[in-house]
C-alpha cells in the first residue's frame, strides 16, 4: 500500500480513536456530568457503553435483527417498485404522464403522518415498517433511474437502430448501462434514508426493534444501553452505504 493509501486508512481511525479517548477521560472523571449538572450515571463512558453492548448482546441483537429486517425488506421492496416504475415510465409516454405527478404527490406525504395510520391498519409487526421504508425509498430510485434512462445519447440510439436493435435491445444494451451511475446515486440516498425511516416507523408503534428499546431505556435512564443501540445503528448505516458503494464499483467498471 502506498504511503498515501496508508494515511487515508490510518487518519480517520486515529481521529475516531482520539475522540473516543477524549470522551472516556471526560466521562470517567465526571467533567461532562459536572458541566451539565447531571448525575454521573447519566453520562456513560465508552468503556461502559462497550460493557453494555457486550452484557446485553442477546437483547440488542434480537431487536437489531428486527430493525435490520425492516430496513432490508423495505429497501428491497422500494428498489423493486422504483425500478418497475422507472422502466414502465420509460417505455410508455402515457404511463409517464399519468404516474409521475402521482409519484411526486405520494412522495410528498410526510412519513410521520402515515406511519401511525399504517400501524393502526396493519398492527405492530414489521409489515407496516417495511411498507413505510419502501414508501420513502422508491422515489429517489425512480427519479434518478428515469433521469439516467432519459440521458441516453440519441446518436447511439440511431446507431443501434441501423444495427437492427429492437426497442428492448436498445433498452438493455444502451439505456440501462447509461443509467446505472444515476441509479446508484439514487440507491445511495435510499440507503442513507432507510434506517432513519425505519426508526421513525418504530416510533409510531412497535412491539420490538432498536427504536422501541431506545425509548424504553431512555425512560428508565439506561443511558449506556441507549448508546449501545446507537452504536449498532451506526454500524448498520455505515455498512449499507459501504456495500452500496462497493456494488457500484463492481457493476460500473467503465468510466
Amino acid at each position: 500500500m502506498s504511503v498515501r493509501g496508508a494515511l487515508r486508512l490510518l487518519l480517520p481511525v486515529a481521529l475516531i480513536a482520539a475522540l473516543i479517548g477524549l470522551w472516556q477521560i471526560a466521562a470517567s472523571t465526571g467533567w461532562i456530568a459536572e458541566a451539565l449538572n447531571l448525575k454521573p450515571f447519566l453520562v456513560p463512558s465508552p468503556a461502559e457503553v462497550g460493557d453494555a453492548l457486550w452484557s446485553n448482546r442477546a437483547l440488542l441483537w434480537e431487536n437489531a435483527w428486527v430493525t435490520l429486517r425492516e430496513i432490508l425488506f423495505g429497501l428491497l421492496a422500494g428498489v423493486v417498485v422504483g425500478i418497475g416504475l422507472a422502466t414502465a415510465m420509460r417505455f410508455s409516454r402515457v404511463l409517464r404522464d399519468a404516474i409521475f405527478p402521482l409519484t411526486v404527490a405520494v412522495q410528498a406525504v410526510p412519513i410521520v403522518v402515515i406511519a401511525p395510520i399504517l400501524v393502526v391498519w396493519f398492527g405492530y409487526g414489521i409489515g407496516p415498517k417495511v411498507v413505510i421504508v419502501a414508501f420513502a425509498v422508491f422515489f429517489p430510485i425512480t427519479v434518478n433511474l428515469l433521469d439516467g434512462l432519459r440521458s441516453v445519447d440519441p446518436e447511439a440510439v440511431k446507431m443501434m437502430r441501423t444495427l437492427d436493435a429492437s426497442r428492448w435491445a436498445i433498452f438493455r444494451r444502451v439505456e440501462v448501462p447509461t443509467a446505472l451511475p444515476s441509479f446508484f446515486s439514487g440507491a445511495k440516498v435510499a440507503v442513507a434514508v432507510a434506517p432513519i425511516v425505519a426508526l421513525f416507523a418504530e416510533l409510531a408503534g412497535s412491539s420490538s426493534g432498536l427504536m422501541r428499546l431506545i425509548i424504553q431505556d431512555n425512560a428508565n435512564f439506561e443511558i449506556a444501553r441507549v448508546f449501545a443501540a446507537t452504536v449498532i445503528l451506526l454500524v448498520i448505516g455505515v455498512l449499507l452505504v459501504g456495500l452500496t458503494a462497493l456494488a457500484q464499483r463492481l457493476v460500473v467498471t467503465w468510466r
Binding site: D153, E155, A156, K158, M159, M160, R161, T162, L163, D164, A165, S166, A169, R173, V174, P177, T253, W254, R255
Partner: protein, 263 residues
Amino acid sequence: MRKDNSVSVVARGLSHTYGELCSLRQIDLAAADGEVVALVGPSGCGKSTLLEIVCGLREPSVGGVEAGGAADAAGRLARCAYMPQRDLLLPWFSALDNAALALRNRGAGKAEARREAGTLFERFGLVGFEAARPDELSGGMRQRVAFLRTLVAGKPVLALDEPFAALDAISRAEMQGWLAGALRADSRTVLLVSHDIEEALYLADRVVVLSARPGRIVAELRSPAPRAPDRDAAVTDPAFVAAREAALRALHAGAAPAPGTGR
C-alpha cells in the same frame, strides 16, 4: 437477389425541411451496387440529414428514396448500416462485443456473435484487442472497431458520416488507406459524407458536391484512382490534383448563397 451494376441507392427529387428551414433541395442521386459515392459540402448543408434519410432514420419531406430496393423507412433501415461521426463505441462492452452488436441485436448468442465478429478482427489487424474496453484504444483503433461494427451488420449499403473527422491528420491518412483496403476486400455500396475533398476523392468512385443550405447538387466528379493501394502516390498524381481543384472550385461556387435564396 442483387444483380451486378444494379442501382443500390437512388434518390429522386428529394427535399427536406425542418419546420421553416429547408435543408435539402431537389436531390437526385444514384449509387450503383458496390460503388462508393462521397458527398462533400459546406457544414450545415444537410449531408448528414441526407444520410439519415437514406438509412431510414428520417423520411424526406418531398421526393422518393430507395436503398437496396426498399422504399419504406423500415426497409431502408434493414438494408443500411450507419457509422456516425463519433465512433459511439459503448464503453461498457469490449471491442469485440461492440463489433458484434448487430449480431447480438438479431438474437445471436454471445459466443456465436463473438466468433463471427472475431474473424473480422483477424482480417483487419485488430487481433489482441478483442477484450480491450473502448477507452483503452487509440482514436484510429476505435474508428476501426466502429467500422467493423458497421461491416459485421452485413448490410448491402454503408452510410459513413465523416468517419475520420475526429482524428489528427496523420491517423486520418492512415485510416483512409486502411478503409480503402477494407473496401477492396469487402465491396459494398457506400455513401460517404466528408468535409475533406482529398479524403472523398481518394476513397470514392464519384464525388458529389453540395451547395450551402439548402443543399443542392452543384457538381459531380469522377475520381481518377479510387482506393489505390499506394495512397501517397495516388493523391499527388496530377490527375488527382486537377480533380481536387475542380472540386474545390465547385465547393466555393456552391458556398455562395443559392440564387433565389437569402438577401
